[in-house]
């Protein structure tokens, strides 16, 4: 069973950062992306949790509020688009979980990651607000990503703040507060003995990967915790090489991790 | 091993665990009961009850210390006009069913028994009237105490009690018009100086809702807790808050209220906000405390009704169900027993009417004639029984005590206390008990050496007996020499019986009663304890160890407590015997101690 992913070049920002500041603009940007997909008769697979929530929520709202739909379509007409409804939005991890795993994933596994202890960061918008996500996973006790990571043979560890926010949206407002939030989780992961952190959202990656060194220097802690996207973990298990996986672009170096798996980095 | 637990008869051929009296049938007689009911009160609840009972065919006497009827609205009235007066004048059926209204009147005398209470009324300017009634229902309305003084405030146009506001809302005048100054901010205060009650919080929320309806108004509701444990209160709370009533919950602090001239300032510490808040109020409404009706202690003393800790009718007893008092034939409904709403009071009135009809029926009832038997030759007219009966089932007629079967519960306290032993309980007369004790546990002989310790336990059927049965059901270990004697109340075990138990060869005797606060006969457990203490002293005097006689209390569902008590008793007795001359000498309780034989 295969799912084909088509790249839509004209996608713009999903609008998520606009929600707190300008709700109408938020709705408009999300609707634009939805309309683009609808034009091509496609459902949307999102690569970011926040985008997932923005697009899903907008689709949800539009399907329930005829006035809002009319309003938005009037604006979309300026760029020659119209959104009727019916585009389904799903996060890529959810897609994997619901449509592809476990069998189709298992057949592709070439390397066992049993050496590694991996903590999963669910974050906020992958699961919440729950009413728009069809209960595909449990908000208070989520399992879907754990399940996917476990398919590689890696040991998925539990830790207290698994569901907690990364603090990302606060970064432009108060850097210190945002980093304190992320720091708490890094501390917990350290204590739980994690070898790597699994994320499914670039926002979260910015906090844990991009800002890890800053957090370390601000508070004098040391983590050296590689932050991997879920596809990178699955890819490692499937035998893809580090260039294909873009591991060089991870801020926290993954060299040690790779050598533990017996992979000599190029 | 112990036979059928439910069996009352004593089985032969195996050692009986529980000694119970065989069920025998009481002789019955028919007695006549009055079909008149005395209802004390004047509000909606009393009126509803009178109405209902009259409809069932009873005659009603309505009495209250004040004029009949009360103002509609307010806590005791209904919206459409309230009270006995308004009701009575409109319901002609009352005249047909003979509802007589004796208000205002005062009850000067009260005696008698269920089915035949004698009441003497005094009405101003008239001679005393006597009535015989079969039942009494206390349905008087409680008093609402003015709330101003505890807050250090004086009532004014802007500082009202809740009842005053309700009146104002109903009549459309007074506080709400407030000429010259718009009603911008209203503050309602419930509790703090007394525990607030859902019934008055309901009234407060309903009034606050009406004020919040005007879009210009800010309405604050200050209380310690929003008490939603009452019908519809959760919904009402939400509705009020949805309509703009701001709930301020203050646990641990009190609001500070100052009134200077026209200005009222309310300040408090909002815990959720973490700050002190001050607001100027255009209207301040204070909740009143519900207090017992004025004549409560007077009536209680006269009728022998127990009062609760807050002074309302109905004692603080675990077996007192909502509308019952400690006396058969006397009930209490509505605010007479505590703060409550009119709706609840009316429901209770309906329930009570059923109870009344259960008691009085058509006016004739078959009652037991010989539940309590009096030996007139022995009775010395000391009136101990009359004074002691916790159920007021004994009265005094023609120079001898009369036992009223409708009120008697067969607790046996009178039989135990009678100094002349003139009273016997039909179901467990002393002689019978003694005979059985001796028969089952004959005085031990030399051959009994080495036998298991014999323990006789008198267990109250309301608690210890249930626990003993439960323990047997659970298979809990017990001393093999344990024998249980069931009694209707621990208070029916007199000292003579305890001594007899020893004489019949018991190594130890136990009296197991209900907890003192749970005794269905109020004082039975305490009386038993006192008797045990007395006998223990006597035992010591004659050289027997005090520990051979044990008093304990437990609950009905306490098998483990029971098992523990009896096992510990066995151990205590074993320790007492160890090292004594028991093995060689004759066992205690025989011969040389009680040689009367």
């Amino acid at each position: 069973m295969a799912i084909e992913l088509e790249d839509v070049e004209d996608f713009i920002c999903c609008g998520f950062p606009m929600k707190p500041t300008d709700r109408r603009s938020f709705n408009l940007m999300a609707a634009y992306n939805l309309a683009l997909a609808e034009e091509k008769n496609l459902n949307i697979c999102t690569l970011c949790s926040s985008c997932t929530s923005a697009l899903t929520e907008a689709a949800h709202l539009i399907s329930r509020d005829a006035d809002l739909k009319k309003q938005l379509n009037e604006q979309l007409s300026k760029v020659g688009l119209c959104y009727e409804g019916g585009v389904r939005v799903r996060h890529f991890a959810r897609l994997l979980y619901e449509e592809i795993a476990p069998d189709d994933v298992k057949t592709l596994i070439r390397r066992d990651l049993g050496e590694l202890r991996i903590g999963v960061h669910y974050g906020c918008h992958y699961l919440k607000p729950s009413e728009i996500y069809d209960d595909f996973d449990d908000v208070e006790n989520p399992r879907s990503i754990d399940f996917l990571v476990a398919l590689t043979g890696a040991r998925v560890i539990d830790y207290p703040g698994k569901k907690r926010c990364c603090g990302g949206p606060v970064l432009p407002v108060d850097e210190k507060v945002a980093m304190s939030v992320a720091k708490e989780k890094l501390d917990e992961l350290l204590q739980a003995g994690a070898d790597a952190l699994c994320v499914v959202c670039p926002f979260c990656s910015v906090m844990y990967d991009g800002n890890q060194r800053s957090i370390e220097s601000e508070w004098g802690t040391v983590y050296n915790l590689p932050v991997l996207y879920l596809p990178q973990i699955l890819g490692l298990a499937m035998g893809l090489d580090e260039n294909e996986l873009g591991l060089k672009m991870n801020v926290v170096k993954t060299r040690d991790l790779l050598s533990r798996l017996g992979i000599t980095p190029k | 091993m112990f036979g059928n637990i439910g069996e009352k008869s004593i089985s032969h051929g195996e050692e009986p665990f529980i000694l119970m009296m065989e069920e025998q049938v009481l002789k019955e007689m028919e007695c006549t009961l009055s079909r008149k009911v005395l209802v004390i009160g004047r509000g909606v609840v009393a009126a509803t009850l009178a109405d209902r009972l009259a409809g069932m065919g009873y005659e009603i006497v309505l009495s209250d210390s004040r004029q009949p009827g009360i103002e509609p609205g307010g806590p005791h009235g209904s919206a459409d006009g309230a009270g006995v007066n308004s009701h009575g004048s409109s319901a002609s059926s009352w005249k047909k069913e003979k509802v007589s209204i004796l208000s205002p009147s005062r009850i000067e005398g009260f005696y008698g028994s269920p089915g035949r209470f004698h009441v003497r009324f005094l009405m101003e300017g008239e001679a005393a009237m006597e009535e015989e009634v079969g039942a009494v229902v206390l349905a008087n309305d409680c008093v609402l105490e003015p709330p101003f003084h505890p807050w250090g405030l004086d009532p004014s146009e802007r500082i009202l009690s809740l009842s005053q506001l309700e009146e104002s809302i109903r009549s459309g005048t007074g506080a709400l018009s407030l000429e010259g100054r718009p009603l911008r901010t209203s503050v309602f205060v419930c509790g703090f100086n007394h525990p607030s009650h859902p019934a008055s919080q309901r009234r407060t929320l309903e009034a606050a809702l009406k004020l919040a309806a005007g879009a210009q108004n800010r309405v604050l509701f200050l209380t310690e807790h929003l008490k939603v444990a009452d019908r519809g209160m959760e919904r009402l709370g939400r509705k009020a808050r949805d309509s703009g009533v701001l709930l301020v919950k203050l646990t641990g602090t009190k609001p500070d209220i100052c009134a200077h001239g026209e200005d009222i300032t309310v300040s408090f510490f909002d815990e959720a906000l973490g700050d002190h808040v001050t607001v100027g109020a255009d209207l301040l409404v204070l909740e009143e405390k519900y207090s017992p009706p004025e004549e409560t202690s007077y009536l209680a003393a006269m009728m022998g009704i127990q009062l609760g800790p807050d002074g309302f009718f109905q004692g603080d007893h675990v077996y007192n169900r909502p509308i019952f008092t400690n006396r058969t034939g006397i009930w209490v409904v509505g605010c007479a027993k505590g703060p409550g709403s009119v709706e609840e009071g009316v429901e209770e009135a309906m329930a009570v009417s059923l109870e009344v009809s259960n008691l009085l029926g058509e006016g004739k009832k078959r009652v037991g004639e010989d539940r309590v038997q009096l030996d007139r030759r022995k009775c010395s007219l000391c009136l101990t029984c009359y004074r002691l009966c916790p159920h007021r089932a004994i009265s005094y007629l023609n120079r001898r005590p009369v036992f009223h079967d409708l009120a008697c519960t067969g607790c046996g306290i009178c039989a135990a206390e009678c100094p002349m032993e003139a009273i016997q309980l039909y179901h467990s007369p002393d002689e019978e008990l003694k005979w059985r004790l001796q028969r089952e546990d004959p005085a031990p002989t030399e051959a009994d050496r080495g036998r298991p310790l014999r323990i006789i336990a008198f267990v109250c059927e309301n608690s210890a007996l249930q626990s003993a049965r439960f323990a047997a059901l659970l298979g809990l270990a017990r001393p093999s020499g344990l024998r249980i004697v069931e009694v209707p109340c621990a208070g029916s075990v007199d000292m003579d019986l305890l001594v007899t138990a020893f004489r019949s060869g018991a190594d130890g005797v136990m009296v197991l009663a209900c907890h003192q606060e749970s005794c269905k006969s109020v004082e039975g457990s305490e009386l038993a304890r006192w008797r045990v203490l007395t006998v223990q002293e006597k035992l010591e005097e004659i050289g027997l160890e005090k520990k051979r006689l044990f008093f304990g209390t437990l609950a009905p569902g306490a098998p483990f407590d029971f098992a523990k008590m009896v096992r510990e008793m066995e151990k205590t007795l074993g320790d007492l015997d160890a090292g004594s001359e028991r093995e060689k000498a004759s066992p205690p309780g025989h011969g040389w101690v009680f040689s009367r034989g």
Partner: protein
Amino acid sequence: MGQVNLDQADPHFARELAREPGGEKIALCFTCRTCTASCPISRVNEKFNPLRIIRMALYGLRDEVLKSDFIWLCSNCYACQERCPQGVSVAEFMNLLRNLAVREGQAPSGIRAQMELIKGQGRIYPLDDFDNKKRAKLDLPSLPTSCRVVKVLFAEEGESQMSPGVE
């Protein structure tokens, strides 16, 4: 704050909020503090306390709320909203307050910068040729470095934008 005087507060603020999306049920709050207990920001910073903010709004402390810096600390994680036993949309409420603040010209500089980026470039992280060079090295197709669409979509800015239902 120390001492709050309600006579200077706006008694209509709560009702105004109740009419907008996100404010519907705030009056139902019964101060259980579940929201604050679940909040990741509250854990590390005392200034941000969702319950306190709701309370301030209910009391009508309009300026204190809308001009504050602490309402911007919300990370929109929705934990409060998921757990509120009264069904208050706490997270949406925070968004509502912030929307109002922006309408009145109050927003921290970082947020304003972010808004400008999105409305001007259609992205929160704008791309330039340098990024496309890096992509080329990884055999990834290049992406547009400017966005015409947003400029058209947001062309009629400057009018009062935020009352829902009004174009």
